[in-house]
């Protein structure tokens, strides 16, 4: 296969300019980054934790670190990878803290709060766009998915969610998790297959 060099597109050039402005701590440039990544980071933390409490704080902490660290960002790797590395590190710190001072164990975080409370997090989300029936179906599907996600180990959950929300390459996941690329591939595959089986057995 012949490898051809890819010329930078207008989008790439605009992004490079944006990052250069963000490195100068231009608030408008950082706003664009927030618009681009806030919801994906929110989804990542929400699905990692299984609850919404504290998710916003974690997303805020990611952006606080971005403000502090972006002047040193070297632009060699993809920005997504750099950003979600910060998110993954924050999440790892959170898990370590929980393990040192366990208030509620990770596996119990949903059960101890009660299914009703968890369901309330999703209620009315689709009311304006969907029929009550489809709304209920979607809620049920998301609740079921969250239950299954929480049954994965934190490592398995992390790789699946880094792929989905972070849109990281396998090589980037391998680097972040300090594993060979084959291990990263196998881990993602195994985790997704496990999830699907759990979901199928729940329905």
């Amino acid at each position: 296969m012949v490898m051809t060099a890819t010329l930078p597109t207008d989008v790439d050039a605009a992004w490079v300019t944006l990052i250069a402005r963000a490195k100068q701590l231009d608030p408008d440039a950082l706003d664009v980054i927030v618009d681009q990544y806030a919801t994906r980071l929110y989804g990542f933390f929400h699905r990692m934790m299984g609850i919404r409490d504290g998710v916003e704080d974690l997303v805020q902490e990611v952006f606080v670190r971005v403000v502090r660290m972006i002047p040193q960002y070297d632009e060699k790797g993809r920005f997504d990878s750099w950003l979600f590395r910060i998110a993954a590190n924050l999440n790892r710190d959170r898990i370590r803290k929980l393990q040192r001072h366990p208030v509620v164990s990770l596996d119990e975080s949903i059960d101890s709060r009660g299914e009703e409370e968890v369901e309330n997090q999703f209620v009315h989300r689709y009311d304006q766009e969907h029929s009550p029936q489809s709304c209920a179906d979607l809620n049920e599907q998301l609740i079921s998915m969250q239950h299954c996600l929480m049954k994965l180990s934190s490592e398995e959950r992390t790789v699946v969610l880094l792929r989905h929300y972070g849109q990281l390459e396998f090589s980037e996941i391998a680097e972040l998790m300090e594993t060979p690329i084959g291990t990263a591939l196998a881990r993602v595959h195994r985790s997704l297959r496990k999830l699907r089986r759990m979901m199928e057995s729940e329905t």
Binding site: D35, L138, L142, R193
Partner: protein, 201 residues
């Protein structure tokens, strides 16, 4: 595949070996492609499960809160940067950094001296050996580590921003922070502003 199968054999069996490698590589590529395809299918399924996962109104509130927080943090970082730049010894020449590091080294050694055995010797080599033994045995640090740390401090101090804020860089400084530097022993004297040049302690 075992590690041995990658080892190149002698010329007689080279062709067979090459074929074997080719087959292995094809197998590896095929396995990789199969795995990637399986993952792709699973990921598509997973994406469907989590479609429209974010609340639009919650996303707006989140973005608004984040923008506010980012501006606060920018202010904090910029104030911090200004404070740091004010702390720089902007009127000091470059060699001052090295001098401070040297003084720090002496203070470090002196501060530890009561704890060092056999320090009655006036031989500096012996004294340093005693200090090295103390540092290694009692403090658990190697002299090379201390040297590295001191060199880092010296380098950092020597590269301070705006070390000599005068227009004419070729001119010798005659007054540093109140000291008369035209006197060869200026560093041993008390500042002029405290009442003339007197001998220090």
């Amino acid at each position: 595949m075992s590690h041995d199968s990658h080892r190149k054999p002698n010329a007689a069996s080279e062709e067979a070996w090459l074929k074997e490698q080719l087959i292995d590589e094809e197998q590896i590529n095929t396995d990789f492609i199969k795995l990637r395809m399986r993952i792709e299918i699973e990921e598509q399924w997973f994406g469907q499960q989590l479609q429209d996962d974010i609340l639009p109104d919650a996303a707006d509130a989140l973005r608004s809160a984040l923008r506010k927080r980012i501006r606060q943090e920018i202010d904090t970082v910029q104030v911090d940067q200004k404070r740091k730049s004010r702390r720089h010894f902007s009127g000091w020449p470059r060699w001052a950094g090295g001098a401070i590091a040297a003084v720090a080294a002496v203070m470090l050694v002196v501060s530890q001296s009561p704890k060092i055995e056999n320090t009655s010797s006036t031989d500096s080599t012996e004294w340093l050996s005693a200090f090295e033994a103390y540092a290694t045995d009692e403090l658990g640090v190697e002299m090379s580590d201390i040297e590295v740390e001191l060199s880092t401090i010296a380098n950092a101090l020597a590269t301070l921003d705006n070390p000599w804020p005068i227009d004419d860089w070729s001119a010798e400084p005659t007054d540093i922070d109140g000291y008369d530097t035209t006197n060869s022993n200026w560093h041993e004297k008390v500042p002029k502003r405290s009442g003339g040049v007197e001998s220090g302690t």
